[in-house]
């Protein structure tokens, strides 16, 4: 498979297009399925990656992508990045992360986290939705059609809350999220299309902020995940941070411990560290030269050895996850036929070396590690659109699901690495006479005690018919769908009545909150459109004004007093409307000014025509061929 560039004549198959989106910590991108295989969405310069960075302007405008990233140093407090690390997390989970981020985190409703920019709070879901909207817009531009359906990828080790948050972000971006797909599985799908032979593969996926390893068996178009492991808060960002910590530590030793780093310096150091990391992938040393102002300058050389010593513990950590995944799959490294490398951070030479050492074989890197997930998501979009029946994806749930039982223990109902969809049932009863509701605390994790697992929230079963204590038999079904997301339903078996389940998510948004954000995004979309329109109209008005000025100096003498007065009035009115925010009124004023210049335009035309005719010989004039003139 050679991923081709969109716009070279390939078209998406069928009417139904389901866009595959890799929503990354550092970059996001999209692909779609064609008859020739999955194709990346690229901009006019051929770039597929959209930096997952948002820049908030003082006027409320939001820029997404490379431009937003370019201004991160000037505007550290209003440039938002690595939002993926916040998805589906609570404010309490993020104390460590908050210290490393240049922007401000605050508590959101019921323990969730929000990003505060210019005094306004944004949920991670809304911020991710802005990135998704940008990816969607670019894709629509390239494909020349509206896109409403998408597959979005997530780290395999994302828990239920993080998956739901991603799905909610898609909804807020106006997308019908047809499937949440695990990133390593998507990568395997893209890899597997090129490799017909049966094999057992390991996918090592080290992104900007997340790490996954998945072990899959690929046989005759069936992609079966045997086990997955990972860390949703470990990635290339951590390598950068090691370098930042090294530099800030030495700077303090040199210039004084009390030296503080303003947000813009911290942001500059972050960019610097990232550039150094990338340079050290190809070179043995990189020089660091930081101007700290007030005549203080920090300069030194960082060698690759030094960098590798700093990041080695992180890589050890990823290999520990590899060992656990292999153990769960019941395999040893020599059973693996291919190791597929995914994510930009796998470009770091030490990462490759250590992974190759562990598996005892060379890694597969033929598909760009930053593109492979999006390509696989495009394939999955094709499967869901009904374009491929020969490919079957059998994924697993990464973490066990259970409920809090008496005494605060975790009662597992669905074990990790179970193939999804999967289900389990449990029967509950009441402890008081006439009790009509039961609370269940649903947990996800591997630890024995409820308090060490992650609570997915309180599930309240209501509508139980009043009966003596211990008499009702409420059968609760926990169904994990193909997205790895839990659905709960309940039925009281003695009465046969369905009980309703109300969910208060522990680290996510309630259904009502998402609905409101979907509505808000439409409202903002309207604001955005108005804003856009105003900018265009103001630019157009400026052109009109300068044209009038030019015409007045050239042919102003042709105007009657009456014409001159009405033109002056129209110009004054236009200048007033340009200061206001009403696009319709501005348009009217601009049209009026244009109309008032009609006598001038006529006179100008005459003048130009006379000059043209004067400058040319008669035979040329007669010879004129409109077609030749165009050329």
């Amino acid at each position: 498979m050679i991923p081709a560039t969109a716009g070279d004549g390939q078209t998406a198959m069928g009417d139904r297009l389901i866009l595959g989106i890799d929503l990354g910590t550092t970059n996001s991108l999209a692909a779609y399925m064609t008859e020739g295989g999955p194709v990346l969405i690229r901009d006019s310069s051929g770039e597929a990656l959209v930096p997952s960075v948002l820049a908030f302007g003082a006027d409320g405008s939001v820029t997404v992508g490379a431009e937003a990233r370019a201004h991160a140093v000037e505007n550290p407090l209003t440039t938002i990045y690595s939002v993926k690390r916040l998805m589906g997390r609570g404010i309490d989970d993020l104390q460590d992360a908050a210290a490393k981020l240049a922007y401000k985190l605050t508590a959101g409703p019921h323990g969730t986290v929000c990003v505060e920019v210019n005094g306004r709070r944004h949920t991670p879901q809304e911020l991710s939705a802005m990135v998704l909207r940008e990816v969607r817009r670019r894709s629509e531009d390239v494909l020349g059609r509206e896109i409403t359906e998408a597959v979005i990828t997530v780290p395999a080790y994302f828990d239920d809350s993080q998956r739901q948050a991603t799905r909610d972000a898609g909804r807020i971006a106006g997308l019908n999220v047809r499937r949440i797909v695990n990133e390593p599985t998507a990568a395997a799908l893209a890899y597997g299309l090129d490799h017909a032979s049966d094999s057992t593969i390991a996918v090592y996926d080290l992104g900007g902020g997340t790490f996954d390893v998945s072990v899959l068996k690929v046989t005759g178009g069936v992609f079966e995940v045997l086990a997955t492991h990972g860390d949703t808060a470990l990635g290339g960002d951590d390598f950068d941070h090691e370098l930042v910590a090294l530099i800030t530590g030495e700077v303090r030793r040199q210039f004084g411990q009390e030296l503080s780093f303003p947000p813009s310096t911290r942001q500059a150091l972050r960019n610097f560290a990232e550039a150094t990391k990338i340079r050290l992938s190809d070179e043995d040393r990189a020089s660091v030269d930081v101007d700290l102002g007030s005549g203080r300058r920090f300069a030194r050389t960082i060698t690759r050895d030094e960098f590798e010593r700093l990041i080695a513990p992180w890589i050890d950590h990823t290999l520990e996850h590899c060992r656990m995944a292999m153990g769960d799959a019941g395999l040893s490294p020599r059973d693996i036929d291919e190791v597929v490398m995914v994510g930009g951070s796998t470009r770091v030479p030490l990462v490759r070396r250590r992974v190759e050492e562990y598996f005892g074989r060379r890694c597969y890197t033929a598909i760009n590690p930053e593109h492979v997930v999006a390509l696989g998501a495009g394939v999955q979009g094709g499967i869901l659109a009904g374009l491929r029946r020969d490919t079957l994806l059998l994924d697993v749930i990464p973490l066990s699901l259970g409920i809090e039982t008496m005494g605060g223990a975790m009662g597992k109902l669905i074990m990790r690495n179970s193939t999804v969809p999967c289900q389990a049932g449990e029967t509950f009863t009441t402890y008081a006479d006439g009790q009509t509701a039961v609370d269940i605390n649903v947990l996800q994790g591997e630890r024995e005690l409820a308090r060490d697992c992650r609570s997915l929230g309180k599930f309240k079963l209501t509508g139980i018919p009043p009966m003596p204590a211990g008499f009702p038999r409420i059968h609760v079904t926990f169904l994990v769908d193909a997205n790895g997301i839990l659905n709960v339903s309940a039925r009281e078996q003695r009465s046969g009545k369905a009980a309703s389940v109300q969910i208060t998510p522990a680290h996510g948004l309630t259904a009502e909150e998402v609905d409101r954000m979907v509505k808000d995004s439409f409202a903002h979309a309207f604001d955005d459109m108005t804003e856009h329109q105003l900018i265009d109209l103001r630019n157009e008005s400026n052109r009109v004004l300068s044209a009038i000025e030019k015409a007045l100096t050239e042919v102003g003498s042709v105007l009657s007093d009456e014409q001159r007065t009405s033109l002056n009035e129209a110009v004054a009115e236009l200048k007033v409307k340009m200061e206001e925010d009403d696009p319709d009124a501005l348009y009217d004023a601009m049209s009026a000014a244009n109309d008032a210049t009609a006598p001038l335009t006529g006179a100008q035309m005459d003048k130009v025509l006379r000059q043209t005719v004067k400058g040319r010989k008669l035979e040329e004039f007669e010879d004129d061929d409109p077609q030749r003139q165009e050329g």
Binding site: R178, T219, V222, E224, L384, L392, V420, P421, C422, V480
Partner: protein
């Protein structure tokens, strides 16, 4: 599309004869091999019938896996994504049931447990007895594990694990033999009851040994 499907193995006759939609013969009660129409009444049959496998212990991992993949090729939600909400919900439930059936049947110990109860034997919650002398051996092993763990002696733990694994394999061989005897003893209910009781004891011992093995890691 259906030309890509592997040929379906013959079944033990638990499948309905024809698809209610296209009237072609069905090899599984779950879904039509030809038109992919799902059969809602199939949810709730036992796992062997669901997978169109004979109701016996002696099955290979390959044949169970084959059925698991073949059935998922028809029922998986990916292939019903464009259909009505009812069809989608049915496909979700069926696929979940198949995955659960595969999980239970593919592991010999849990397959034995499941088959034992299906044949009318007691569950592990109802009947907790183990073969004679087994508990004494296990108490001894447990002490050895505790000592080795306290000393951090990984070599000793490795040795204990190997001993336990040998025990485990022996118990599974006896379990397979007892299930084979059960099939042979079709005519005699009395013998069958005894065999089921003995199977219960063997399988209880298997789960005990498995727990100890996990303690050696």
């Amino acid at each position: 599309m259906s030309t890509n499907q592997p040929a379906l193995p013959p079944t033990d006759g638990t499948a309905p004869a024809k698809c209610s939609k296209c009237e072609r013969p069905m090899s599984t009660p779950l879904v039509c091999d030809f038109c992919h129409a799902l059969n809602p009444s199939a949810v709730g049959v036992d796992y062997f019938s669901l997978m169109s496998l004979p109701q016996r212990f002696d099955l290979t991992e390959e044949e169970i896996h084959d059925r698991f993949v073949t059935l998922n090729r028809h029922t998986h939600p990916d292939f019903h994504a464009g259909e009505s909400p009812e069809a989608q919900s049915l496909s979700l439930k069926m696929s979940a049931t198949i995955n659960d059936a595969y999980r239970v049947l593919s592991d010999p110990a849990s397959r034995g447990d499941y088959l034992l109860e299906l044949l009318g034997g007691a569950s592990s919650a109802e009947e907790k007895s183990v073969p004679e002398g087994f508990l004494d051996t296990m108490m001894m092993m447990q002490e050895e594990i505790a000592d080795a763990t306290a000393e951090g002696n990984t070599e000793e733990l490795q040795r204990i694990r190997e001993v336990l694994q040998t025990q485990h394999d022996g118990l599974m061989r006896r379990t397979a033999g007892l299930f084979a005897d059960y099939e042979q003893a079709a005519a005699c209910d009395y013998t069958r009851d005894d065999l089921l009781k003995e199977l219960r004891r063997q399988l209880n011992a298997v789960s005990y040994v498995t727990k100890l093995i996990s303690q050696t890691r």
